[in-house]
């Protein structure tokens, strides 16, 4: 079945270079019998959700400084409705994972992710979180955060420029805009972890 180009009013298909993932997502939705024509209620939900993404402050190293620049005056993340950086995972919508994740940090990151409320998203920001980056050969660096948590958007760069971070943020917004929250849930990953420990 051919996939229709997803239409998002405020973010044109042609304006983006990386569209495969969104087509994949649609193909998946189609294949599992979900109606891609998103209802009005869903549109409203998606509109509000994608324009008010609250990031979780999670920076372990260099990339975090660029993230701070995003929040500051010149780049001004507030234009995307994403300036309310939360210090508690329970209040955040997505986690922009900036910086190397080491073996010692890995369980902490996993727990923080589990503490976030659904729907939650992950942007792997910087070479380190995508693949281990310059530290790939180290004895104690995780080779990509996708070993621990599911990643929605991969953002290469060491560190990525603030403009690139915005691009990643917009890709995440598109992803949210084509999703359908009411009715069939499109989040296919089953909970792979045991939710018990979080209750402690």
């Amino acid at each position: 079945m051919e996939v229709k180009k997803p239409k998002i009013k405020s973010m044109k298909y042609e304006d983006f270079k990386d569209n495969e993932y969104i087509e994949d997502l649609l193909a998946q939705l189609n294949a599992s019998g979900v109606n891609v024509v998103v209802g009005k209620a869903d549109q409203l939900l998606n509109w509000s959700r994608s324009n008010s993404l609250w990031p979780f402050c999670f920076g372990t190293s260099c990339c975090a400084i660029e993230f701070m620049c995003l929040g500051a005056a010149r780049y001004d993340m507030a234009r995307f409705g994403a300036e309310v950086a939360r210090n508690s995972p329970r209040q955040a919508d997505y986690i922009m994972c900036q910086g190397t994740i080491t073996y010692r940090m890995a369980p902490v990151l996993k727990r923080l992710y589990e503490q976030m409320a659904e729907p939650k998203y992950v942007i792997a920001c910087g070479a380190c979180t995508v693949s281990g980056g310059p530290f790939k050969n180290s004895y104690c660096v995780v080779k990509g955060v996708d070993e621990i948590i599911p990643v929605d958007v991969y953002l290469p760069g060491c560190p990525p420029r603030p403009e690139a971070m915005f691009y990643a943020l917009m890709q995440l917004q598109r992803k949210i805009k084509v999703s359908r929250f009411l009715g069939g849930a499109n989040r296919k990953e089953k909970l792979t972890y045991d939710p018990e420990p979080c209750l402690e």
Binding site: C57, Y103, V141
Partner: protein
Amino acid sequence: MADLKEQIGKLCPQAQFDTEGEFLLITIDDAQWHPLAVSLKRELHFDQLMALVGMDWGEALGVMCYLTNTESGDIVHVKVSTANRETPRLHSVSDVWAVANYQEREVYDFFGIVFVNHPDMRRFFLRNDWVGHPLRKDYDASPEKNPLRLDDETNEDYTCSWVEDDKGNVTKKHGLVFDFDEYVINFGPQHPSTHGVMRYRVSLDGEIVKKVDVVSGYIHRGIEKMCESLTWPQTLLYTERMDYMAAHINRHCLCLCIEKAMGLEVPRRAELIRLMMDELMRLSSHLLSYGCLTMDQGTTTAFFYGFRDRELIYDIFDRTCGARMSMSYSTIGGVVADVHPDFVNDVRHACDVIEKNMKEYHQLFTGNVIARNRMVGVGTLSREQAVDYCITGPSGRASGVHCDVRKTHPYSRYEEFDFDEVTRTGGDSMARYMVRMDEMLQSIKILRQACDKLEQEGIQGEYCAKVPKMIKLPAGHWYQQVEASRGAFGVYIESDGDAKPFQKPYRMHFQTPCFNLIGVVDLTCRDNMIADLITITASIDFVIPDIDR
């Protein structure tokens, strides 16, 4: 050097000397090491332990200790080793120089050398269930041994130490990190005010901090080990990712060290460009710490001011180096490309703007009554403590230590410039903050002079020396220090002279300023309020990856 040799020879007749290298090398047996350390400090005033480098020489394990006399600036280094690889033991000098406490824990973590009489021999960087000691040459790096573990680490409630009695018998003893009835709260690793991933376990009495136990290593990336499998120019990359707020400066340091080992002459103009980049970096770093310190105390506006002006500096880096952060600009022999034609104008402009805005910063924050109440007299560090814990940089100078490497051991043409070493005597959070603010003015002063010099020597010109394709260093070891944004940054390199198929460092160690800074958190926070812990750590201003490497 001959003088020193004679004096030390009198103190300890068993010591062997080597005057070939850049500093006097003393080789000594472990049995005499502790008495020698005591008399070096007492008689010859070697009051600061600059670096303690763990080493694996194949047949022996040991340490290299770099000592300095803060009055005369003399440097000596001591080599202590043990041939026992199964249960290597050396005597601790943490009772002589307080900074050795964490340094020795690092060496224990990486090499498995146990320091006898050390109060607290726990691992420092790696998980407490880690198998093996990674920097040993015979370390088994197979992932089966140390897989990615996703279970939570257990808290370490017991310290462990090896104590020697009068007869020389060593026994292992356990102590408590916190007493059973103490009220301990966890702080970090994911906390916005720790400026990264640092974890403290804080024991409280009401709101008063009784003890802080530092749990580090959440961003330990194993840089030193990875360097051992790369060529010399490749290792430069990691210097920028430790203290990313001193990226140029750290890289400059490693370049200087390798150039010193090669005997390479760097064009004077390249040195000048490096110097300018260093000062820009320092400005940017101090602006960031202004922003973070203010934000930690609730002044969000001041954060925006600091970041606004940093963008000017980022623009300069962007134009010349092609990147905002992690610039990879210095290289062995000079810099990788010439500066942008507008470089000098941009720098002048940035200097003018920042100098003008400094007044605003002071109006906004420095005079504020809340800021003063929270910072004046809080977290005081005396001069003696600063020397003992080897606190350098703005934090050291705030306690009145003259520790600016640009003045004490000038490098890269710093001796040609007219600037002051900013010192204060308060030693409290306010003094640390003010030293930083005043240093920014000094950096601007240096930059203005450098702009004039660069114009005289040509806005475009020679920027890199001729460097052989394959970089080979003779066998030996070298140590180089520079003044980074947060203190003296040192690089220790050792080469075995072997160059097949290409030469790799035998050992590379980074003596980072923040590693020493973390040593005084407990000291400065004790008996202050828990809320002051945030102010104090922000005023000490560390960058966590610089601690953990």
